[in-house]
């Protein structure tokens, strides 16, 4: 890989990282509106409000950068970066087509899970440094949620790694066969549910519950720093969609039109998962803390262990 090639890949990565979350955000605006019999944004940019999020971005950039008097300045300022950067790293590892990842690693799946776990520290730092009780509560809830759902997430990913016999993300897609959709179905569902919980997306949005703790850890944030947290949330959806695609939906594989267009199928599948994430937000009410913990420990973890067992049996027999 030459320097120019790497540079091109990095520029493409950055473009994807900045554009895809906005696309998902816009889909959320419009899809959610139509599911609720509304129109959503209609004016910004002319055609069906396509530039609404660009306008929002400009608005955020103009706002004052407020630092609460009692806050811990360094931690407060550093938190948004720590929440956002892990997703950039993960996106760099996603193979969009055969041999088309920005960076390839032998233990890709492990690296991805490890880096994704770091993002939570950004939220916890934000909640603590804000010097606000609601923020600390939000950070606590986010941390508790992550600790519970990390286990099923890793177990579900381990099942696919076992099935494919490799930890490399492109290797998993290469080994993937259509009947895995059925074989790894419980794992896929567990991965998606646990991923949603890690992102604090509905129905697992207790950490940011606006009606009780006014957006939790992000209460005191305004302007660009708040925009970075929002970007992190939508980048998280993109990353979750891309990971689900790579691990469970066969990545760039498709029955037809694969030659050279693999990246398109990765994109289509990723956006389909993102749409599902939005759909769940519109349809499901928020889970209570005890329901949330029960779901993780009493359902997802045992189910993930059963999935691991099934995977092991099929691997040994087959």
């Amino acid at each position: 890989m030459s320097v120019l090639d790497l540079l091109l890949r990095l520029v493409l990565l950055l473009a994807c990282f900045l554009v895809l979350p906005l696309v998902v955000g816009q889909i959320e605006h419009k899809a959610m509106a139509h599911m609720q019999s509304r129109l959503g944004p209609m004016y910004a940019g002319g055609f069906h409000g396509w530039a609404q999020l660009v306008a929002d971005g400009v608005k955020f950039a103009q706002k004052e950068d407020v630092l609460p008097a009692a806050a811990d300045p360094w931690v407060f300022r550093l938190a948004p970066a720590l929440a956002l950067l892990p997703y950039l790293v993960v996106l760099a590892l996603i193979p969009v087509g055969a041999g088309q990842a920005v960076v390839s690693a032998d233990v890709g799946i492990f690296l991805v899970l490890a880096v994704m776990g770091i993002g939570i520290i950004g939220t916890v730092m934000a909640g603590w440094a804000s010097a606000n009780k609601f923020s600390v509560l939000g950070a606590l809830r986010a941390a508790a949620q992550l600790l519970s759902y990390e286990l099923p997430l890793v177990l579900a990913a381990a099942s696919v790694a076992m099935a494919a016999g490799t930890l490399s993300l492109p290797g998993i897609v290469e080994a993937w066969r259509p009947w895995w959709l059925l074989w790894q179905l419980p794992g896929a569902l567990i991965f998606l549910v646990a991923g949603l919980a890690e992102l604090s997306r509905s129905p697992f949005d207790m950490p940011v519950a606006e009606s009780e703790i006014i957006f939790g850890a992000y209460t005191e944030y305004a302007g660009l720093r708040f925009a970075l947290f929002l970007l992190a949330e939508y980048a998280g959806i993109v990353v979750l969609g891309a990971l689900t695609t790579v691990l469970f939906l066969g990545g760039w594989k498709w029955p037809f039109l694969v030659g050279g267009l693999g990246w398109l199928w990765t994109l289509v599948k990723t956006l389909a998962v993102a749409f599902l994430v939005i759909w769940l937000r519109v349809s499901l009410p928020r889970l209570r803390e005890d329901q949330l913990q029960r779901l993780a420990w009493a359902w997802l973890v045992p189910l993930a262990l059963v999935q691991l067992m099934i995977t092991g049996v099929v691997r040994v027999m087959g």
Binding site: G117, I121, V124, L140, A143, A144, L147
Partner: protein, 180 residues
Amino acid sequence: MNAAVTVVFALLGVLAVGSALLVVTTRQVVHAALWLVVALGAVAGCYLLLRAEFVAWVQVLVYVGAVVVLLLFALMLTKAPIGVSEDLDAGLAQRVVAAMVALATGALLVTVLVDGFSGEVIDQGATGGAPAIGASVFRSWVLPFEVLSVLLLAALVGAIVLSRRDVPGAGAADSVAGGR
């Protein structure tokens, strides 16, 4: 190792030691936990440069991703003031003893490492990926691995028993301490 790798390794080492010192000297309890993130991350970087890729990411996943989050969670659940906590300071005698214990432990570890591995040269072509680790853990070292697994399982069961309230006799420590 070539020169660039050596320089980066040394820098990461300095970063790890420096942030570790800050962990024990800072008087802001949450900052100590955050410096621990830096220290553990720098150690993971060192592993990476030593071609132990898998171990490096396990370090990040387990220590940075889980242990520190648990630490921060526990801190915030109990007491995590913003700013300097005066009671986090120790007397001179305690500082001297702590420094001596730390130095002695460090010296012991360095001696063991130098004694055991001083002649080893890392094969730059080899990657310490999952296959190599898997083969040695599940073939040569399978017995210690299983013993550790049983130990962890025992700890797990113990933690569950201690936290259960609906079993007669469990939670006895609470009632001795005055109950809830």
